[in-house]
């Protein structure tokens, strides 16, 4: 065993500067030096305050007031809006739909992303073929939400390509109203979201897979482990930190998905695809009940913060 001693002078000069003689000029120089880090931090701090702290505080404030924004003299009503929201049937419908939409999306994203990542990481396919498939698989990620919504609205409309293929192959007798039928709309929007989001997992997991040393698999093979055992004992544990982080991030993002829902079903038909995001939007920009909408937004913020807490904890554990 060997030990290394660091030079004491270096540590001193960085951490605890020698007290100066107390001259004003020297003290000024010290103060200036101490301010430098704050100077570098200032832009970030200003951005955080302007873009995060102020809006959040304002929204929390709005959630406790009635007739906010729409009238010049709003009244303080305490937690009335929160009680209204939490006792509203529509809110719980939106919560249930959001949980289904998010839960199914996250699980499907993970499974499809992992399957495709493993396919692209296998040594059984040539490099050129892999490159072609990688491009194809990543395509949905390149489209903006608006394009995805328009594309799938066209594909899934009663006279669209999907129904044509299904009826032509006699899988269905009549055209299905995928996005307009209360029975299928939630499944349809969830499917679209899955299609749009799996490449995020795929690319991240592929990077993770490429980082697992080949030695592990060779050693396991020598020990007689079959493919499934190698997958469960090496691949999954090695990818676990990435999977946890991504699943939590995806959960946060998907609970806040608005544009896709708004542009495909608008929360309909009959409220079957109403999500927390569309519910809040309608309160604000259709009913102009900004106080109630703020209360709903604060509830979503709290849920997101709980998820963010777990995300940060997972990140720390990973580090």
């Amino acid at each position: 065993m060997s030990t290394t001693s660091l030079p004491v002078t270096g540590a001193d000069s960085l951490g605890s500067p020698e007290p100066r003689s107390g001259k004003p000029a020297a003290r000024l120089a010290d103060a200036r030096r101490a301010l430098v880090p704050y100077g570098y931090l200032t832009p970030t701090m200003v951005l955080l305050v302007v873009l995060m702290v102020i809006p959040i505080v304002m929204v929390i404030g709005y959630s406790l007031m009635d007739n906010v924004i729409m009238k010049k003299n709003p009244q303080f009503v305490g937690f009335k809006h929160y009680i209204d929201i939490l006792t509203s049937e529509s809110f719980w419908t939106a919560v249930t739909n959001t949980l289904f939409f998010t839960g199914v999306s996250v699980i499907a994203h993970l499974l499809i992303g992992l399957a495709f990542a493993m396919m692209l990481n296998t040594g059984l396919i040539g490099t050129r073929t892999k490159a072609i498939f990688r491009t194809i698989y990543v395509l949905p990620w390149l489209f903006t939400v608006a394009i995805i919504a328009v594309l799938w609205r066209l594909l899934l409309e009663p006279n669209g390509v999907v129904n044509f293929l299904l009826t032509a192959s006699h899988l269905t007798g009549t055209e299905v109203e995928w996005l307009s039928s209360p029975e299928t709309a939630l499944f349809a929007v969830t499917f679209i979201n899955i299609w749009a989001g799996y490449p995020f997992y795929m690319t991240s997991l592929l990077a993770g897979l490429q980082g697992i040393p080949a030695d592990y698999y060779e050693a396991a093979q020598v020990d007689g482990a079959n493919a499934w055992q190698r997958f469960t004992a090496i691949t999954i544990p090695q990818l676990k930190p990435i999977i946890i982080s991504m699943a939590l991030l995806d959960f946060i993002w998907t609970t806040q998905q608005f544009a896709l829902i708004w542009m495909t079903t608008g929360g309909g038909p009959l409220g079957t695809t109403e999500m927390l995001s569309t519910f809040t939007y309608k309160l604000a920009f259709s009913k102009y009940q900004f106080g109630t909408a703020s209360a709903s937004a604060v509830i979503v913020l709290v849920i997101s913060m709980v998820l963010a807490f777990f995300y940060v904890r997972a990140q720390k554990a990973r580090d």
Binding site: P182, M263, L270
Partner: protein, 427 residues
Amino acid sequence: MRKKYLAGIAAMAAAALAMTGCTGGGTAPSASNEGPVTLEFAQWWEPELPANSLRSLMDKFESENPGIKVKLISGPYASTKEQVVAGAAAGTMSDVVGLDGAWVNDFVKQGSLANLTDLMKSANFDESQLAAQVKLDGSTWMIPVANFVYPMFVNDDLLKKAGVAAVPTNRTEFAAAAAAVTKTGKNTSGWVLPLDTATPNGIQNDVMSWVWASGGSMLKDGKPYLVGNTEVKDTMTFIKGMYDAGSIAKGSFTMKEQDKVNEFTNGRVGMMIDSLAHVNLIREENKDLKFSVAAIPSADGYSGKRGMPYASWGIGVANNSKHQAEAFKLVSFLMGKDVNATLCNSAHAFPGNTQAVPDFVNSDPIFKQAFEIYQAGTATNEFTGLPVAEDLMRSFDEQFQKYLAGKQSADDALAASQSAWEKAFSG
């Protein structure tokens, strides 16, 4: 070394200030009396007009009014609405704003619009030249600049193929024609009904239009009148009959106005109620489509004047504007006989100035036909000026969808809508 630190701190502080500057500030111009006044004009019209047509009108205004510049803030309808709502809330609304009649009540309550009656008086503006004014509590808050009426569009070829000899004029003929057209092909429907709840204007244009076309009303003394209203109930039953018969194009519950126009343009729908603003679009998209316009069929036996839905490009002045007199100059410029005719000619809309006659009204047979229907009937839109008008449409839409899906009766749908509307009116 010291200089470096100072420079570093100064640079950071400057960057921070610059960023604060970027995020702060409003859209309202300064109150400075020196130099030209710059008016902001927020609207959704420019993207819907031929390139540069609105800008060239603004250039004309600027040349006639030295010292006033106009900055156009243009975007799609939905984003303009959000921008105007946010501007109204923050007191940073643009000086002149494009308005939809459905927004007016809420903005007036909020105190974000200037009283145009006062501005017209101050400017000695002749009100008699205006085709319409949107008033609340006796004062004008919005002036319709261009009006888009919603007649019935008919696919002449499809009706001919279905053996329908004449364009339907009443509901019985319409239902029969829709059923006949539906039978002509697997992907063909008689009528198309967009009921998407994200943009629920289908209730105004495609549902209530039937009530208005027969002289009916959804209001009594300015208050909701749905329960016990036989005209509204009859319309609902009439539409449900066609829905159950399969005469309405599939996908109604999440269909948007644009989808409706696409269905018609692609020749899959026999009839639709739509804005004249789409005539050119339909022609460009499908040059072979033979179509005409007609009045919306009325209830059987009705012979009175027919109401025809319309939507307006309205205009108003922001209460927070520091240049309201100059802003009204722009309003009166756009409402002037010649300018209004030029604008409406570009938009293919009917003018807000009674004396303006756009060229297209005489040169194009479809618009000529529509203008005749417009003059024979009454432009009606009962949602204009109502509180949270879009939300009223949405709450009716949700109940109507439940009725169409067979999940409740017409009376239950009307009762639930009445209750939602009364709550909105009292709020």
